[in-house]
Amino acid sequence: MARVNRHILAVTVENRPGVLTRVTTLFRRRGYNIESLAVGTTEIPSISRMTIEVEGDDQIIEQVTKQLYKLVDVIKIVDITEERSVDRELVLIKVKADTNVRAEIVQIVEIFRARIVDIGRNTLIIEATGDSGKISAIEDSLKPFGIVELVRTGKIAMVRGATRP
């Protein structure tokens, strides 16, 4: 069996209505699964950048890339999994926090260099950024207190140094 890996694809696309639908329709139609997806504009307003995390063996990743290239609105695709790159996710976690556990939670927040961005009567909202491992770790640490709500942005990534995808 071919090895299944997670790949991060940096996809440069035209910033036009419907481009996201074209990309996701392609994934759906060919039966590929998007693990995470983040879209935003770039330094050039007419161009957007999608960071797509997709799981599959080499053959699947090759097909995903080739099929994406066939979309007229897709300008460039770089698989930055193997490259030296920085990847980050942002998470907001609303956690149960009555007065007798607050101190403990604050300590966890400090250890992870996260931030408390809202204090309610019985809850805190915590913001953390980091790679997927760190995000999962902070989630695990807060779970015992009771997570009320959690939202992750999906991964964005960039190659280190002077190269641009």
Binding site: G18, T21, Q59, K70, V72, D73
Partner: protein, 563 residues
């Protein structure tokens, strides 16, 4: 000068050398039809939008030009969907214009509003919703460019009514070059892979060429022929590739795959080198993929990089225009004499002698459908344009009409669309009024777009419809017989119109043929018609089957029948 959107549209069509379009009017396209009223562009009025779409497709296949069709918003546009998908699956260049409700009404579920760009997303090469009249020219230019270049395909342009009505300043001579960031026309190839391919061809002892629709799309039949004939390599073709190499030449193995010839399938199974050219290793070709061409190294030439490695892994992948790549290979490889791989050619000849296409006669003495195709082949000298519907009629046409030229077979290969053949034949006849155009049909599929008879009559297009009438949905019945214990569930079509009277009701000629002696005179009479279509209703053996065949899931060399 001031022009309305609809007038700009027609101007742009002429810039693309479009002289004929196939369409059907409606509310949202009223401005376009108004502009067509005194235009030089010839508009063929279909009787159903699906017919318009298939006719544009048939026109494109028969000429190599981009086919153009036009439909109104909502149901008009959705009626095109099957035609668009048919063209998409077979990589046929089409530009389909659809009307749309006014821009201020879009998204409000207005009367006859359908999200056709959303609907056609996965079945087009690209699509556009034109939001401003100013964008029209660039979009049309891009659409034609995308439709016809690289791997061709259908492009949809959705035209809101107000965008067609608006008047803007327009510079008629201001034609611009196309420049799309995310789309480049494929040029060149990997020179190293050409050397590898040439080396492999030189080393091969049992080579076979497997040619697909890409050879036709790339206009590379001459280059294919040069390669095959100077190296004496047998050529088998996919359904889409038929005609790419002359079917009547000794090196032709005919079609391969599920209903391929035994000799083609045996050759592919025994070859040591398979040269796949503009083909995509579709399941109807490979059958059980694990045992496809088990002894072969594979060279795969295709313009679409995504096709390479999609279904099988290959030894030498070459991404490029088929014509250009074949020219490069031909330039680097010398001819050999016939003795070069004598043993292999003898083996192939032996298979041909031992397992030719053949059929028994009907115990009740009814006409055999294969005989009818053979007669048509004989009487047209193999030089007609053949359209087919889908099912047994299609396979018999593929077996017994040995096409000599590319672009002479119009058939829905990928999607398998019943009702495709007749409107496609109309499109081809419009393009080639001097060539005989014959639709090989079944009694089931012809009923799916029979309304287009009115079109053929109106425009005096003497298309011949040859119904192989077995009063069954024959191919499904055949499978029910083979794999479902003969339980003919809802495939009996005994209730059918009188096709002769139906033809006459439309103003066409109709002839019913039940006896062998009537076959040739009827075909001759049909071929002699100069101003009206002819329906030939051949009552054939009810339970004739298409053989040989590879049951699904089996290996290519495990064939039923024809032995």
């Amino acid at each position: 000068m001031k022009l309305k959107g609809a007038e700009i549209l027609l101007h742009c069509l002429q810039e693309e050398d479009v002289d004929t379009i196939f369409g059907y009017p409606g509310g949202a396209v009223l401005p376009i039809y108004d502009a067509l009223y005194n235009s030089n562009i010839r508009h063929i009025l279909a009787r159903h939008e699906q017919g318009a779409g298939h006719a544009a497709d048939g026109y494109a296949r028969a000429t190599g030009k981009v086919g153009v069709c036009l439909a109104t918003s909502g149901p008009g546009a959705t009626n095109l969907v099957t035609a668009i998908t048919t063209a998409y699956m077979d990589s046929i260049p089409l530009v389909c214009f659809t009307g749309q409700v006014g821009t201020s009404l879009i998204g409000r579920d207005a009367f006859q509003e359908a999200d056709i760009t959303g609907i056609t997303l996965p079945i087009t090469k690209h699509n556009y919703l034109v939001e401003r009249t100013e964008d029209l020219r660039d979009i049309i230019k891009e659409a034609f460019y995308i439709a016809r270049t690289n791997r061709p395909g259908p492009v949809v342009i959705d035209l809101p009514k107000d965008v067609m009505d608006n008047e803007i300043d327009f510079e008629p001579n201001g034609k611009k070059e196309v420049n799309i960031k995310g789309y480049r026309v494929m040029k060149g190839y990997n020179a190293g892979q050409i050397i590898n391919a040439v080396e492999m061809i030189k080393q091969a002892k049992r080579p076979v060429i497997y040619a697909g629709g890409g050879v036709v799309a790339s206009e590379a039949a001459d280059e294919l022929r040069e390669l095959a004939e100077k190296r004496h390599i047998p050529v088998t073709m996919t359904l889409m590739g038929l005609g790419a190499y002359p079917g009547n030449k000794p090196l032709s193995l005919g079609m391969l795959g599920m209903h391929g010839t035994r000799y083609a399938n045996y050759a592919v199974s025994e070859c040591d080198l398979l040269i796949a050219i503009g083909a995509r290793f579709d399941d109807r070709v490979t059958s059980k993929i694990e045992t496809f061409a088990p002894k072969a190294k594979i060279i795969h030439i295709d313009v679409d990089a995504a096709e390479i490695g999609k279904n099988v892994s290959v030894n030498v992948p070459i991404v490029g225009q088929v014509k250009e790549v074949l020219q490069a290979i031909n330039a680097k490889i010398d001819g050999v004499n016939e003795g070069h791989h004598k043993e292999w050619l003898e083996t192939v000849e032996r298979w041909k002698d031992e397992y030719p296409l053949r059929y028994a006669s009907d115990p009740e003495g009814r006409l055999m459908p294969q005989h009818i195709i053979e007669k048509i082949y004989e009487l047209t000298n193999g030089e007609a344009i053949i359209a087919t519907e889908v099912g047994q009629n299609q396979m018999w046409a593929a077996h017994y009409y040995k096409l000599k030229e590319p672009r002479t077979l119009l058939t829905s290969g990928g999607l398998g669309t019943m009702g495709y053949g007749f409107p496609a034949a109309i499109g081809a006849k419009v393009a080639h009024p001097d060539k005989p155009v014959i639709d090989i049909a079944g009694d089931g599929s012809i009923q799916m777009n029979i309304q287009e008879l009115a079109v053929a009559v109106e425009y005096k297009l003497p298309v011949i419809i040859c119904i192989l009438n077995n009063h069954f949905l024959g191919m499904v019945r055949q499978w029910q017989g083979l794999f479902y214990e003969g339980r003919y569930s809802y495939t009996d079509m005994s209730h059918q119109p009188d096709f002769v009277k139906l033809a006459e009701a439309y103003g066409a000629m109709g002839i019913r043929i039940k006896e062998y002696a009537e076959v040739e005179p009827a075909i001759r009479k049909a071929l002699a018609s100069t101003d009206k279509p002819v329906v030939l209703d051949f009552w054939v053996a009810r339970e004739a089957d298409v053989y040989p065949m590879v049951p699904s899931g089996s290996s290519l060399f495990d064939m039923l029948g024809g032995d």
